[in-house]
């Protein structure tokens, strides 16, 4: 009898560890795929550089003509930026969806990118820099300051007693409308050149990446990731109802505050450096959820990896669709993303 019980248990133990192994495999496969895409991204561009040449430059530090310079100073930072920005948006989306328990929420739901656009508009149209920096940095720093302001506004709003998830979503929607309206005022008073600049900025683009920008995003991403990972089990519990989570000993208000702060930081940094890139933060967690479920130990890293993968793939496509032209990456993600979005709505319709 005891033997039979032990046999049964060992069967369940092994089927659970099989499931865990499968999830780790997903993550490993995606890591490899991402690395391949990274190399592909470096080799595709206005001048053709072969795959082998890319490897030679990266590994042995030698290349023909300008290749080494092009790869190291232009393509490598851009390709890496696609990875870190994608990962930031993926993790941000995963966290926002978890704490607001809303499968169609994303960092943009909170109005952060609208705020960033307004900041950029101020820099481009009024030539105003909130931090009194040179014109070249004005757009980025303005975007960052305003997206951070939106983030802090949301954070302070969420600090109040008895603020639930719906109130936070509504507040985000309100911020979204506010900053969109302010941006439109800017557009109204702008001349043609400024208007074009602003519209181009809001498309989202990786072309202005520098190593410094990449390191800033990387640092924020790493810090936020480790902090949020510490709450993996608490966040898994928070995929259930709030009462349920607190019955399991989760301080839901505290976890929600920390996560809002982290996701706001992630999206503020990503948006201010590369402009509006929609749908990555929405799609990646959704695919990740289908693959590994909502155990945050796997769900969160996989959302980040998928975000990086989707953005890298979009970047490759943006360079291939029209030969010789690099489409703004934000447009590509939206074109890929919208069918997905509709698919999500359709598949959720039964439960809505």
């Amino acid at each position: 009898m005891a033997c039979e019980v032990e046999y049964k248990r060992s069967r369940y133990r092994s089927s659970y560890s099989r499931m865990v192994k499968q999830r780790i495999t997903f993550i490993a496969v995606l890591l490899v795929a991402l690395f391949a895409l990274l190399l592909l991204n470096i080799s595709i561009g206005s001048s053709d550089i072969s795959f082998m040449e890319v490897c030679r430059v990266l590994l042995m530090d030698e290349g023909m003509g300008n290749n080494a310079m092009i790869i190291r100073n232009i393509r490598l930072p851009m390709a890496l930026m696609a990875v870190v920005v994608g990962a930031s948006l993926g993790i941000g989306g995963c966290q926002i969806q978890t704490i607001l328990r809303n499968p169609i929420a994303s960092p943009y739901t909170l109005g952060i990118s609208a705020a960033a656009s307004f900041g950029a508009a101020m820099g481009l149209i009024l030539n105003q820099s909130v931090l009194k920096l040179s014109d070249t940095m004005a757009v980025t720093t303005n975007a960052f300051v305003f997206s951070l302001m939106a983030a802090i506004a949301i954070y302070i709003f969420s600090l109040q007693r008895g603020i639930g998830k719906n109130a936070i979503i509504l507040f985000g929607v309100a911020l979204n409308f506010l900053f969109s309206a302010l941006t439109m005022i800017m557009q109204y008073i702008a001349d043609e050149d400024q208007l074009q600049g602003l519209i181009f900025w809001s498309f989202g683009s990786l072309l202005k990446t520098t190593w410094t920008k990449f390191y800033v995003v990387l640092c924020v991403l790493s810090v936020c990731f480790f902090i949020v990972m510490k709450y993996a089990w608490q966040l898994t519990a928070m995929t259930l109802d709030d009462t349920k989570a607190s019955s399991l000993g989760v301080d839901t208000a505290k976890v929600r505050r920390i996560v809002i702060l982290m996701t706001s930081m992630l999206s503020a940094v990503a948006v201010s450096f590369v402009g509006t890139i929609g749908f990555v933060g929405l799609i990646s967690p959704h695919i990740a959820r289908q693959l590994v479920g909502e155990d945050q130990r796997f769900f969160m890293p996989l959302s980040g990896l998928l975000g990086a993968f989707v953005l890298s793939l979009s970047f490759v496509l943006s360079k291939l669709v029209i030969r010789g032209v690099i489409l703004p990456i934000g447009l590509v993600t939206s074109v890929i993303g919208i069918p997905f979005f509709i698919l999500i709505i359709f598949s959720k319709m039964r439960s809505m």
Partner: protein, 260 residues
Amino acid sequence: MLSIKQLNFAYKKKKITYEVFDGLDISFNKGFNVVIGPNGAGKSTLLKAIFGLLDCDGQVIYKGKNIMHMNVREKTDLMAYLPQMDVDVSSLTVMEMVLLGQLPDLNYRIKAEDMDRVMEILEALNIEALAMRNFAELSGGQKKLVFIAQTLVREPKLILMDEPVNSLDLRKQLELCHLIRKIVKDKQIDFIVVLHDINLAARYAHHLVVLDGKGKCYASGTAKAVITREMLKSVYGVQANIVLDNQGIPIISPIDAFTL
């Protein structure tokens, strides 16, 4: 075991206050305590207050210590709590759902003991076959059992359960009450359970507490002492017959509601 002293609580919304407890005094015994009372009497609110989820005045004393202002960690070490509200959607498996019950002690790596404890409780509830199923695919009663397993998987000193037998079939209701009594006996864990079924409560509870629906405790004690025609009339507004079975356990059969 646990006593509540001068508990006051009201749900406030703008200028309207709805008073739930008005200087409530209760003492619970060791073993299987059951709380009964009419709808809206504050049974669920009482469990929330004990678990520290509400902002209320008064004292909740456990072993001479007021536990009202314990931090989260101390609270979960002492108690486990099954809320009434049911969660329907989740992409977790049953195994993961029950593992979450051990949340305060979980690490990134799941230990074999953690898994064994999950299997042990699933076996005790006869739902071990569901272990690898997706939670969302289960029936309402099975979901309830999974949450019961989640609550029972740790072994704290005190377990609070809010209407655990709702949506369970007749046999499962009896099995659960049996299991609770077994856990009380084998592991010396005390229970405070909210039930609606007075007959079930009478049969299994060591100690019964009746809330009167006006913010006070109407009576407490053994089933025989508490379940009277007078209590059913003044607390529930119901006319009922009560007979004692051969073990001396009262069985009620309701006849009619008193018209007011």
